[in-house]
């Protein structure tokens, strides 16, 4: 019974989220839909990164390589193949991101901690350099412009509201999939790898392969997020694959709360708020969202390692004890 109520609440929340542009129209501007859409894309990206950072204990600082690969793949596929069909462009994004994650993953999964962090950073910088230099394919420093909005059969996602719906549905599906994964033996095994890899090997787990599978899965989801970003903004910049983008996702995960389902979601809400809403409330000379984001990040690292989800749990326990 409680289970049923819980699922109905989740379904209601998902429905409300997906239909946001329609019920918010009377009182919110179009800008609100854009902000929520971009926050959801960041949330998908952060959820995928948290599979590595929070679940499997693999702190990657190069996750934007896969986001960028997905964005470029979707854009290039739609232009070169002259099709806007979603299965083709999104499939290309997922495939290219997965293959790139496989190649990079093979090189990095045997290293741990700071070495893993530096290796992912370095390899992602190579991907960024290729995106930035290979002008003939990626548009180089000009970026890739004029990407078409996708179609699914006869279904047209070109209107701002319908591309929002596509993003929101994908977000719900990704969140459900990751939730299911973490409940399943696979998710438990990732936690085991994070907590005590040596013990996992002694139990008969091929931990290198487990880590590689998580890396490829996370890269694939990041690629899907990248494709959604390309559809939404109709533009891909080399910066999408750059260090700034990787750091932004990392900060989102840590500020929200690593290793939780809600963490990357509330993290992306907070980051979007700081980037998009807060500056408009400040005097012009104080519109330095990166600096504010940096300060918030420092605050969380120093005082609330568990992120916003951790703070919420703490407050909830305090309230119940009263």
């Amino acid at each position: 019974m409680r289970q049923l109520v819980r699922w109905m609440l989740v379904a209601a929340a998902a429905g409300a989220l997906i239909t946001f542009p329609y019920w918010s129209a009377p009182w919110a501007s179009r800008f609100a839909t854009t902000v929520v859409r971009d926050a959801l894309i960041l949330a998908i990206f952060a959820l995928s990164l948290d599979l590595l950072v929070g679940r499997a204990g693999m702190p990657s600082l190069g996750h934007a390589a896969f986001f960028g690969a997905g964005a470029y793949a979707a854009g290039i596929a739609s232009q070169r193949l002259a099709t806007d069909q979603l299965p083709v462009t999104l499939g290309a994004a997922a495939l290219v991101a997965a293959l790139l994650a496989l190649v990079i993953g093979v090189l990095v999964v045997r290293s741990e901690g700071i070495f893993f962090l530096m290796l992912t950073l370095a390899l992602a910088q190579i991907v960024f350099a290729i995106a930035f230099q290979w002008t003939a394919v990626t548009g180089g420093s000009n970026g890739l412009a004029g990407i078409g909005r996708p179609m699914l059969g006869g279904l047209d996602f070109s209107a701002p509201d319908s591309i929002y719906v596509l993003v929101a549905i994908t977000f719900v599906l990704v969140a459900l999939a990751i939730w299911g994964l973490t409940q399943a033996p696979y998710g438990r095994a990732l936690i085991g790898v994070r907590e005590n890899e040596r013990r996992m090997r002694a139990l008969g787990y091929d931990t290198a392969r487990l880590r590689l599978s998580a890396f490829v899965l996370a890269g694939t989801i990041a690629g899907i997020a990248g494709a959604l970003s390309a559809y939404s903004t109709r533009f891909v910049s080399a910066q999408d694959a750059g260090l700034g983008s990787s750091v932004r996702a990392f900060v989102t995960v840590l500020v929200g709360g690593a290793g939780t389902l809600g963490g990357p979601m509330v993290g992306s809400a907070l980051v979007s708020l700081i980037e998009r809403i807060v500056p408009s409330l400040l005097p012009t000379e104080l519109r330095i969202s990166n600096a504010i984001l940096g300060l918030v990040f420092i605050g969380f690292v120093l005082f609330a390692r568990q992120g916003m989800v951790g703070l919420g749990r703490f407050a909830w326990l305090r309230l119940r004890r009263r």
């Binding site: 299911g180 994964l181 409940q183 399943a184 033996p185 696979y186 438990r188 095994a189 936690i191 085991g192 907590e195 005590n196 040596r198 013990r199 996992m200 090997r201 002694a202 139990l203 008969g204 787990y205 091929d206 931990t207 487990l210 599978s213």
Partner: protein
Amino acid sequence: MIEVHDLRRAFGGVLALDGVTLTLREGERRAVIGPNGAGKTTLINVLAGEIPSTGGAVRLGGHDITRLRSWQRARLGLARVYQRTELFSPLSSRENVALAIASRRGPYRVFGAPARSEQAEADTLLERVGLAGREGMTVHALSHGERRQLELAVALAQRPRVLLLDEPTAGMSPLETARITELVASLERSLTILIVEHDMDVVFRLADRVTVLHEGRVIADGTAEEVRGDVRVHDVYLGKAVTVA
């Protein structure tokens, strides 16, 4: 079941294992004793595949496993209990055991909670090692003795053919030591057990045969009675133990 031939392991210039040869038949319970630094834990680590050997060969049930990694050896039926507790701290006792059970079916099951049968099997094992009522507690909340019991449950959950025990009673109270000893004594006779232990009461209670290691070499090998009477063993080990006591 386990055949070790001329096993060697060097750390820099130090030979931790200097040509160890021993054979355990199926169902045998063998204790390995020796003073600190004799190479006992190195032997377990090399047998488990966590440290590569620098020479010699290991066979498990007739298969040469010398070059296999630790997870491959585990799949062939080798389980171990560590000297220092090696568990998954934020997980509950039940989840710790369930991880070991799940490894038999592989981790690539991405939908649905762990099977009910696996949960039930975990609870049965926990009850068997005396942790009934502790199923939902995290490792943090367990006492040292209970963690050692949980270690044993995790190792048994792998359904091993060979169990390597590295000082299972280290740091335990006499009561806890007695409980673990009886627990190990009550395991199926078909299970081959190699136990490294300092407590002579535990050794003589559990072991069919005793191997004495000294400076990486086997200096005596025989039944508990034979080893007890061996003069060399007294010199390097038992003698010391007696004077300490």
